[in-house]
Subunit: 250 residues, 2 copies
């Protein structure tokens, strides 16, 4: 299994064709997995915007005020409003805003970026990353899979890791249920989230900041004989932690 | 960056020297990162054991009983006792047992395995995986890093991913704080947990079950100029979700 970055991707602007930038700089082969940082997808889709476009509601004002008094740092209620607009549900409002985006991803600040935003204030996530991934997949001239990545913090463990937020042409999981161990016992629960594992692997090469390389190729990795399984974002009834957070926040 | 499995690792028994099995089957070079599934470390350390060695306390009986009535499946109170023995704190008891191991890792069932346990009933995690990793690192004849991996479920997202539970010779994180984005703005919080990203990447090749390959090498990956940072397991005061779970469970 090899991973490598695609060099030579320019600063992306609205309307840019990312697959053509990739193919200009690298020879792809069938089966390659193309991992693309959501930042450049957002930029190509015109999702960089300014805080002046957001008029804070009372709720946004109140969230910003309570974060301000908690952290001692000034918080822009327009930023809180952008987060509310991008969310279908707010799980917790303090000490940070954890919410569910309209496409199902649970993350801090609805994944809105304030670094690497070019001449704009903020960068929103793509509206529907799996839809974006499908569109990109079709534009490549080889038979590739596309995964759109972001980075996310986690409970229990320090540090952010790469995760998938949209994908096309690949299963979310390898489902080992019903398979057997070395001595023939059936395996316990083992649904392996290969999407997130691939996103984490790619994030080791993408980096952040001014040396960032937003496209990584995974080559020569064999998925194996598993049925397709496309559920990435937990349903509320399957999510004990989400239940606990709701109870705690209310 | 390349990842490859080490073929030819035999079934591991108590006292086996894992580094010598690895070096018999592959030529390592300085800078290689050796990722080893915790299962074989546990086996080499004699952590495979039988449920008959556990006498359930009242608490274990009660946990097993309540899980039984919730799931409709029979639960062995001796297994609950093994989990309690391996834990310093139980975060939730139902609908599954989420706990903190004595070395700080938060996971379901204290990471105790019931598959791939050889002729024993269960396989406990290594007592102190970072201590194990340090011992292994010293036994390799080249200058390598060692990461001991396990797989773990997560809130919000379906599926398990590879995570690190012990390590030696490598920083847990790349800490981008204070670095700048492409146009010179300081990056927001970005502490990247490379340990877990490497473990996830390796897990793509390790697999589960009867075709499992428990050792993966990562080669040609440049960590970059970052200061060392060794905190992997969140302190309670830095963990909102843990607070919420405690409140919820009580």
């Amino acid at each position: 299994m090899e991973l490598f970055t695609v060099e030579g991707i320019p600063e992306i602007r609205p309307g840019d064709n990312i697959p053509s930038h990739v193919e200009k700089n690298i020879d792809l082969i069938d089966g390659d997995i193309i991992l693309i940082a959501s930042t450049i997808i957002s930029k190509s889709e015109g999702r960089a915007t300014n805080l002046s476009n957001f008029t804070p509601s009372k709720r946004a004002e109140s969230i910003a005020k309570s974060l301000e008094s908690l952290t001692g740092k000034s918080k822009d209620p327009r930023f809180a409003q952008a987060i509310l607009d991008e969310s279908s549900e707010v799980l917790i409002e303090s000490p940070f805003i954890l919410c569910r985006t309209h496409f199902g991803h649970i993350c801090v600040n609805a994944g809105i970026d304030r670094s690497n935003t070019g001449s704009h204030d903020i960068l929103l996530l793509p509206i529907d990353p799996s839809h974006s991934a499908m569109g990109l997949k079709k534009q490549f001239s080889t038979d590739v899979s596309v995964i759109i990545t972001d980075t996310c913090g986690r409970p229990f463990r320090y540090g952010q890791v790469g995760v998938a937020i949209g994908w096309a042409g690949i299963s979310a999981h390898r489902d080992w249920r019903g398979k057997h161990d070395l001595i023939g016992h059936e395996l316990e629960v083992t649904v392996q989230c290969i999407l997130d594992e691939l996103a984490s692997a790619a994030n080791l090469l993408m980096g952040e900041g001014d040396g960032g390389t937003p496209v990584v190729i995974v080559r020569n990795w064999d998925f194996g004989p598993f049925p397709e399984n496309q559920d990435l974002f937990r349903k509320p009834e399957d999510d004990v932690v989400r239940k606990a957070l709701r109870r705690w926040a209310s």
